[in-house]
C-alpha cells in the first residue's frame, strides 16, 4: 500500500510534530542500491551477493535434479512468486513454466505440482480470491524459462486463509524464497513464519513498483497494448482509447492509486523519488461509499457510481454564478464545492445512493488529478531543490524539465473507466493540453511483478 504524505495528529500532537515526516522519502534515489533491474526476459545475469544463500539452500534441498539445474544456471528454484500485500488487497503474480520436460515433470515434487495445478486450473480461489485471466501473459521468457504469468488478487483480510493453504500444501518444504512487498510484508512477516513456516524477502514497494512497470511494458508486445491514453479526452463523442509507446518516457510522474496515493517522479529507470502523496485514494472512495450507501465492495460502489449523477450532490460554479465565473476563467460546469449541495437538507433528502457514489468518485478522482497537475508543475522546482529561485530561473527550469507524461496505476483504476476518463479530461483541460494521462493494463500488479523480479537477487 502506498504511503501518502498525510500526517495526522491525534490528541498529543506536540510529540508527533517532532517526528520527521520521513515517509515522504523525498529524493530517494534508486542509485543508492546495488541491485539491478532485469528488464529483459531470458537474460541469465548473475546476481552478485546471492551465492551464499544459494549454497545454503543447495545443501539443504532435496536432491532434485531440476532444482540443481536451476541453480547452476543462476536461476531461482520454482515456484516463482511475487507478492504485494497492500492495505486492502494482496496482489500475487505467479510464473507458470510451460517448458517443463517430461523428465522435469516426473521429478517435480508433489507440493510444487499441486500448487501449480491449483493456481492454473482455477480462476477463483475461495470466496474472494480472483485470477485476472484477461491479464495473463503467455509465452513469456523469464530467466531462460518459457511460461505464463498469472495475476491473482484477494483481500488482505483473507491473508490467514492464504497462509493456511500454504501450510496445507506444504509450501515451506520447497524452501523457496517468497518475495513480498507492500506494508503487509512487514506487518505479516511473523505470521508467514509462524503459520506457514515461510520466510519473506521484504522489498521496498516503490522500487518494486517502478521495476514492475518497466518490466511489463518491455515484455508486452502482442495483444492489447500495455500502455494507452484517451484521445480527445475533452470531447465525449470522439474520446477513444489509443495505444501509447512508453519507450522513452522520462521524465514522468507515476501515480499509484491504491488505498492511498503515492506520486513518484521518475527521471530514468533507476533515478526516481517520491514527490508526495495523498490520503484521499481508493480506500477513501470505497470507505465513504460504504458509509454513504451501505455497499460493501469496490465493484458495487463502482456500479452505483456509474448509474449516478454527481451534479445533484456537488455545487457547481453555475449554481452560484448562474453561468461561468468569467473573471477567473471558471467554466459553469466546474465543481465549486464537492458535496456542496448537501449543506441543504432538502437536497440531502432528494439525492440517491447512486448520486452519492458518483460524487464520491468524482471528488476523489478530481482531487488526485489536481494534486498530480500541481506536482508536475512543481517538479522542476523540487528537481532543482530550490525554494528561493528567482522568477526567471524558475521559468527556465520549468521549460527545461517540464513533465508532460503522467502514468496512473493502482487498483483504484481497475474496471474504472469513469475515473480514467475523468483524469484524462482533468489533466488535459486544466493544463491546457500540456499534460497527458497514461494508463497501464496491469494497473494494480506492478508491485507484485517487481517483487517477483527480485527472486533473481536474493540479497
Amino acid at each position: 500500500m502506498e504511503l501518502n504524505g498525510f500526517y495526522c495528529d491525534g490528541e498529543g500532537c506536540a510529540e508527533e510534530q517532532e517526528e520527521e515526516p520521513t515517509a515522504l522519502k523525498l529524493l530517494r534515489s534508486k542509485t543508492e542500491t546495488s541491485c539491478s533491474i532485469i528488464a529483459t526476459p531470458g537474460a541469465d545475469s548473475a546476481a552478485a551477493g546471492g551465492s551464499v544463500l544459494q549454497e545454503q539452500r543447495m545443501s539443504k534441498s532435496t536432491p532434485a535434479m531440476l532444482r540443481l539445474d536451476s541453480l547452476k544456471k543462476n536461476r531461482p528454484p520454482f515456484p516463482w512468486f511475487g507478492m504485494d500485500i497492500g492495505g486492502t488487497l494482496v496482489k500475487l503474480v505467479y510464473f507458470e513454466p510451460k517448458d517443463i520436460t517430461a523428465e522435469e515433470e516426473q521429478e517435480e515434487v508433489e507440493s510444487l505440482k499441486s500448487i501449480r495445478r491449483y493456481l492454473t486450473s482455477h480462476t477463483a480461489y475461495g470466496k474472494t480470491g480472483i485470477r485476472d485471466v484477461h491479464l495473463e501473459l503467455s509465452d513469456l521468457t523469464l530467466w531462460g524459462r518459457k511460461g505464463n504469468l498469472h495475476f491473482i488478487r484477494f483481500p488482505t483480510h483473507e491473508l490467514p486463509a492464504f497462509l493456511q493453504m500454504g501450510r496445507d500444501k506444504h509450501f515451506s518444504s520447497l524452501h523457496t524464497t517468497l518475495c513480498a512487498t507492500g506494508g503487509g510484508a512487514f506487518k505479516y512477516e511473523d505470521d508467514f513464519l509462524t503459520m506457514a513456516n515461510l520466510k519473506l524477502l521484504k522489498l521496498d514497494e516503490l522500487d518494486c513498483l517502478i521495476k514492475g512497470v518497466l518490466y511489463i511494458d518491455s515484455v508486452v508486445s502482442s495483444g492489447p497494448p500495455e500502455c494507452y491514453y484517451f484521445e480527445h479526452p475533452t470531447d465525449p463523442e470522439r474520446c477513444e482509447q489509443k495505444a501509447y509507446n512508453l519507450e522513452n518516457p522520462y521524465p514522468l510522474l507515476l501515480v499509484n492509486i491504491g488505498s492511498g496515493v503515492s506520486i513518484l517522479a521518475v527521471y530514468s529507470k533507476d533515478n526516481y523519488k517520491r514527490v508526495t502523496g495523498t490520503s484521499l485514494g481508493g480506500g477513501t472512495f470505497l470507505g465513504l461509499c460504504c458509509l454513504l450507501t451501505g455497499c460493501s465492495t469496490f465493484e458495487e460502489a463502482l456500479a452505483m457510481a456509474t448509474e449516478g449523477e454527481s451534479t445533484r450532490v456537488d455545487k457547481l460554479v453555475k449554481d452560484i454564478y448562474g453561468g461561468d465565473y468569467e473573471r477567473f476563467g471558471l467554466p459553469g460546469w466546474a465543481v465549486a464545492s464537492s458535496f456542496g449541495n448537501m449543506m441543504c437538507k432538502e437536497k440531502r433528502d432528494s439525492v440517491s445512493k447512486e448520486d452519492l457514489a458518483r460524487a464520491t468518485l468524482v471528488t476523489i478522482t478530481n482531487n488526485i488529478g489536481s494534486i498530480t497537475r500541481m506536482c508536475a508543475l512543481n517538479e522542476p522546482l523540487y528537481g532543482a531543490a530550490l525554494w528561493n529561485l528567482d522568477q526567471a530561473a524558475l521559468y527556465r527550469a520549468m521549460i527545461d524539465q517540464n513533465i508532460e507524461r503522467v502514468v496512473f496505476v493502482g487498483n483504484f483504476l481497475r474496471v474504472n473507466t469513469l475515473s480514467m476518463k475523468l483524469l484524462a479530461y482533468a489533466l488535459d483541460y486544466w493544463s491546457k493540453g500540456q499534460l497527458k494521462a497514461l494508463f497501464l493494463r496491469h494497473e494494480g500488479y506492478f508491485g507484485a511483478v517487481g517483487a517477483l523480479l527480485e527472486l533473481q537477487n536474493p540479497c
Binding site: G10, K25, G260, S279, L280, L286, L288, M343, N366, I371
Partner: protein
C-alpha cells in the same frame, strides 16, 4: 474551484424578537453614509462610514506682550467640538437581518445616501428586502475583489492583524508584526470551495487556483455521515472524535515495523480507509474528525504546492471554514507545517470575517480616497477577536447579543516607520507581550483595575463645570472595566496584550465618553509653576564645571521624569503633596551606579564632536519638559547640535502635547536667548509624533516627522520616560546612536528588572559600524 460564501444553506428563520441597544450596536447612525453589506451563508456584515463629534481639548496662548502678571495662567484651555471620521463594521447572524434593517431605517437621518454596496453569496437573496427596507439601490460588487481590498486594508492599518495559531503553546495566538510591505501574499479563502489568490499589489491579484474540497464538503459530507445539520455542531463533533478509528494509518498497513523503515506510523495512509475494510459502526465524532483531517490536509497540501510554485511565503487563510474556529485553525496549521516542513506558517487574520464588507465599503468610498489616510482600530468600539466564539463563550453565544463590532478611526496624520529603525520588519514596539507572560499580565490587569478609581475621579474633576460628567465618568468606568474583564479571559482579543494596549484602550474609552483630556488643568498648573523656575535652573548651571554640568543636566532630566501622573506611586505622592518639588524628586533618584548605567560612555561621547541632529521624544508636561528637557537640549544646542522635539499629537495622561509644547517653547524663548536664537535659526524644531498614546510605536509615526528626521540627518535619538523607553522601545534597535532614559516608578516592574522603585535606566547605545552605515 472555489468560491466563498455559498448562498443557500438552509433558511434561517427571521428572528425579530431582539431589541437592539442603539448606543451599543449601530452607533453613530445619525450621520452614517456610504453603506456596504456582505451577506454570507450565515453571517451578515454591515459597514458604514460616519462622522463622530468629539470633544477635544484645545490650548490657546494668551497675548503676553501686553502685560505680564504673575497670577495669570500661561494659556487657556477650551473644549471644542471636532468632527472625525469613523468606520463602523457590524457582524450578526443572518437571522437578524430584517430587525437590523428596520433599526437602521428608523435611525438613519442622513438621506443623501442612495446606494448600498453589496457582496457575498447572499447579496442576491436579500436584495429585494434591502431595497424595500432601506430605500437604497443595491449595487453588487465582485466578491473576490472586495475580499482582497479588505485584506489589504486590514493588513496595512491594523497592527497585529495577522497571527499564527499554536494550540498547545502558552499563548494560542502569536501575533505578527505588520510588515512595511504587505505584498506579495497568498490568500486561501475556504468557503464552500477553496480559492487560492495571489495578491501582488493593491489592485493586482489573480486567482491562481482552487479546489472543490472545502467548507461545503465538510458541511455537506459531514451532514450526510453524521446526520448533524449545523456547521458549528459538526466542528464540535470533530473536536471530540478519534480519526484513527476511521482512517487507515501507515501503522495499520505496516504493523509495528514502520519504525525501522524510518516511517511515521501515525501518517494517514488512506482517509476513511478503515470504513472500507471493517464492517462495523463508526461514531459520529470519529467520522467528523476524520473528515476534518481529510479536508484540512488536502487544502494544506494544495496551498503548499501553490505557495512553492509561486515562491510565496506569506500565506493567509480565511473563509467560513476558518472563521474563529480553533479546531480548523489547528488542523490547517498542522497541515501547512507538515507539507512545508515548517518553512511556511499558516497565518490567520483577526478581522477575517469583515474583509468582504470592508472591501465593498472601500469600493463605494473610492471618491473619498480612504487609502490615502491611516486608520486605527478603536479599542473602545471594537469587540475584539472571538467575541462570539461558541468555543470560548457558550453563554454569550446563547444570548441574542451575537453582535460583533469593529470600529476604525481615521487618523488625522499619515503614519510611517521611523527611518532610523535598524530593521523595520523585525521591530516590535512592546517590551513585554502580556499574552505570553501570564504573571506580568495578572499584575498589569490588576494595576489598571486599581488605578481606575483615580482615573474616574480625575475625569470628573477635569469637567467640574459639567454636571453630567459624573454620569459619563461612571459609564467610562463600566466600559473600561468590561474591557479589562474581557482581556483577562481573552488576552488576545486585540492582538498582543501589552501595557501600551491597556493604556491606549483606556484613552479610547475616555474619549468615547467625552473626556478628551482629563489632565489638562493639572498640566496647565504644572507648566505655569515650572516656567517660573526655568531661569533659575538654567542659571544654576553656569557655575558648574563642564563635567558637573553634564551630570546635573542628566540628573535634572531624570528628576523631571519622576513627575508622572501615569505612575501610581507618583500620582499618590503628587496628590497628597502638591508642593512636592524638583529638589525632592532628585533626592528620590537612585544613586549611581544606576540599574542600567551607560553614563560614562555618554560623557565620553560628549567629549567628542557634536551630533548633527538630536530627535527627542518627550514625555510629561510641567517640570519634566521645562526643567528637565529644556536645559538638556539647551546644552545640545550650544554644542552645535540641532534638536527636534517630538511630542504627542493628542493628549494622553499628563504627557505634553504638541500644541502645549508650542506655547511653552514660545514662553521659554521669550526668557532664554539660546532657545530664542535656535528657534529663529530653525535649529530647534517642534514636530508632532502622530500619536495620542503614552507609549511609542516607532513604526507608526507622523509622516512629517519622518521627513524632518531624514532631512536633518538625525544621528541621535533620545527617548524619555517609562511608557516610551521601558514599556516600549527598550529593545528597539536604531541605526544611529540612541539614549533611552527613564525612572522606574513602579516597584513591581523595578523588581522584575532587578532593582527598586525609582531605579534609573540610562541606556546609551551605538550601533555597530556595519549596521550604522547601510
Amino acid at each position: 474551484m472555489a468560491l466563498s460564501g455559498g448562498a443557500d444553506r438552509g433558511s434561517h428563520s427571521m428572528d425579530k424578537s431582539i431589541t437592539l441597544p442603539p448606543d451599543e450596536i449601530f452607533r453613530n447612525l445619525e450621520n452614517a453614509k456610504r453603506f456596504a453589506i456582505d451577506i454570507g451563508g450565515s453571517l451578515t456584515k454591515l459597514a458604514y462610514y460616519s462622522t463622530v463629534q468629539h470633544k477635544v481639548a484645545k490650548v490657546r496662548s494668551f497675548d503676553h506682550s501686553a502685560k505680564e502678571t504673575d497670577g495669570d495662567p500661561l494659556y487657556e484651555i477650551s473644549v471644542q467640538e471636532e468632527i472625525t471620521a469613523r468606520l463602523h463594521f457590524i457582524k450578526f447572524e443572518n437571522a437578524y437581518i430584517e430587525t437590523c434593517l428596520d433599526f437602521i431605517k428608523d435611525h438613519l437621518v442622513n438621506t443623501e445616501t442612495k446606494v448600498i454596496k453589496a457582496t457575498g453569496g447572499g447579496a442576491y437573496k436579500f436584495k429585494d428586502l434591502i431595497e424595500k427596507k432601506l430605500k437604497l439601490k443595491v449595487d453588487k460588487e465582485d466578491e473576490m475583489t472586495c475580499l482582497i481590498k479588505g485584506c489589504n486594508f486590514v493588513l496595512k492599518n491594523i497592527p497585529h492583524e495577522a497571527f499564527v495559531y499554536a494550540k498547545h503553546a502558552d499563548s494560542e495566538f502569536r501575533f505578527q508584526n505588520t510588515h512595511p510591505d504587505i505584498f506579495p501574499y497568498l490568500l486561501i479563502n475556504i468557503g464552500s470551495g477553496v480559492s487560492i489568490v495571489k495578491v501582488e499589489a493593491e489592485d493586482k491579484f489573480e486567482r491562481i487556483g482552487g479546489s472543490s474540497i472545502g467548507g461545503g464538503t465538510f458541511w455537506g459530507l459531514g451532514a450526510l455521515l453524521t446526520k448533524t445539520k449545523r456547521f458549528d455542531e459538526l466542528l464540535q463533533l470533530a473536536s471530540k472524535g478519534q480519526h484513527t478509528n476511521v482512517d487507515m494509518l501507515v501503522k495499520d498497513i505496516y504493523g509495528g515495523a514502520y519504525g525501522s523503515l524510518g516511517l511515521t506510523g501515525d501518517l494517514i495512509a488512506s482517509s476513511f480507509g478503515k470504513s472500507a475494510t471493517t464492517d462495523k459502526e463508526f461514531s459520529k465524532e470519529d467520522m467528523a474528525k476524520s473528515l476534518l483531517h481529510m479536508i484540512s490536509n488536502d487544502i494544506g497540501q494544495l496551498a503548499c504546492l501553490y505557495a512553492k510554485l509561486h515562491n510565496l511565503t506569506r500565506v493567509y487563510f480565511g473563509g467560513f471554514f476558518i472563521r474563529g474556529h480553533p479546531v480548523t485553525m489547528h488542523t490547517i496549521t498542522y497541515s501547512i507545517n507538515f507539507f512545508t516542513k515548517g518553512e511556511v506558517q499558516a497565518l490567520f487574520l483577526r478581522h477575517e470575517g469583515y474583509l468582504g464588507a470592508i472591501g465593498a465599503f472601500l469600493k463605494g468610498a473610492e471618491e473619498d480616497n480612504p487609502n490615502q489616510y491611516s486608520w486605527g482600530e478603536n479599542y473602545a468600539g471594537s469587540s475584539g477577536l472571538m467575541s462570539v466564539s461558541p468555543d470560548l463563550n457558550p453563554v454569550q453565544r446563547a444570548r441574542s447579543g451575537t453582535f460583533d463590532m469593529l470600529e476604525m478611526d481615521r487618523l488625522e496624520r499619515q503614519l510611517v516607520n521611523l527611518p532610523l529603525l535598524q530593521d523595520p520588519t523585525s521591530y516590535i514596539p512592546d517590551t513585554v507581550d502580556l499574552t505570553e507572560d501570564a504573571l506580568a499580565r495578572e499584575y498589569w490587569l490588576y494595576c489598571f483595575e486599581e488605578a481606575l478609581d483615580g482615573v474616574v475621579k480625575r475625569a470628573i474633576a477635569s469637567q467640574k463645570d459639567q454636571p453630567e460628567a459624573a454620569e459619563r465618568a461612571e459609564k467610562f468606568r463600566q466600559k473600561y472595566c468590561h474591557k479589562l474583564q474581557t482581556l483577562r479571559h481573552q488576552p488576545f482579543a486585540y492582538g498582543s496584550l501589552t501595557v501600551r494596549s491597556l493604556l491606549d484602550t483606556r484613552e479610547h474609552c475616555l474619549n468615547e465618553f467625552n473626556f478628551p483630556d482629563p489632565y489638562s488643568k493639572i498640566k496647565q498648573k504644572e507648566n505655569d509653576m515650572a516656567l517660573k523656575y526655568y531661569l533659575k535652573v538654567v542659571k544654576s548651571f553656569e557655575e558648574l564645571s563642564w563635567e558637573q554640568r553634564q551630570f546635573t543636566l542628566v540628573k535634572g532630566l531624570l528628576a523631571g521624569n519622576v513627575f508622572d501622573w501615569g505612575a501610581k506611586a507618583v500620582s499618590d505622592v503628587l496628590e497628597s503633596d502638591p508642593e512636592f518639588g524638583f529638589e525632592q524628586a532628585k533626592q528620590q533618584l537612585q544613586e549611581r551606579p544606576w540599574l542600567v548605567d551607560a553614563y560614562n560612555q555618554w560623557i565620553e561621547r560628549l567629549k567628542g564632536p557634536p551630533h548633527k541632529c538630536a530627535l527627542f521624544f518627550v514625555d510629561n508636561s510641567g517640570i519634566d519638559i521645562i526643567l528637565g528637557v529644556f536645559p538638556f537640549i539647551r546644552e545640545l544646542l550650544i554644542r552645535g547640535t540641532e534638536v527636534v522635539l517630538a511630542s504627542n499629537s493628542g493628549p494622553a495622561l499628563n504627557d505634553v502635547t504638541n500644541s502645549e509644547l508650542q506655547i511653552l517653547t514660545e514662553r521659554i524663548a521669550a526668557m532664554d536667548p539660546v532657545i530664542h536664537t535656535a528657534l529663529k535659526e530653525d535649529r530647534l524644531a517642534l514636530v508632532q509624533n502622530g500619536s495620542s498614546s503614552p507609549c511609542l510605536d516607532l513604526s507608526r509615526l507622523d509622516k512629517v516627522l519622518a521627513t524632518v528626521v531624514r532631512e536633518r540627518g538625525t544621528d541621535l535619538v533620545i527617548i524619555e520616560g517609562m511608557g516610551r523607553a521601558i514599556h516600549t522601545n527598550y529593545y528597539a534597535m536604531l541605526s544611529c546612536e540612541s539614549l533611552k532614559l527613564a525612572v522606574i516608578k513602579n516597584s513591581w516592574l523595578a523588581e522584575r528588572l532587578g532593582g527598586k522603585i525609582f531605579s534609573v535606566v540610562f541606556k546609551y547605545e551605538v550601533p555597530s559600524k556595519a549596521q550604522g552605515q547601510h
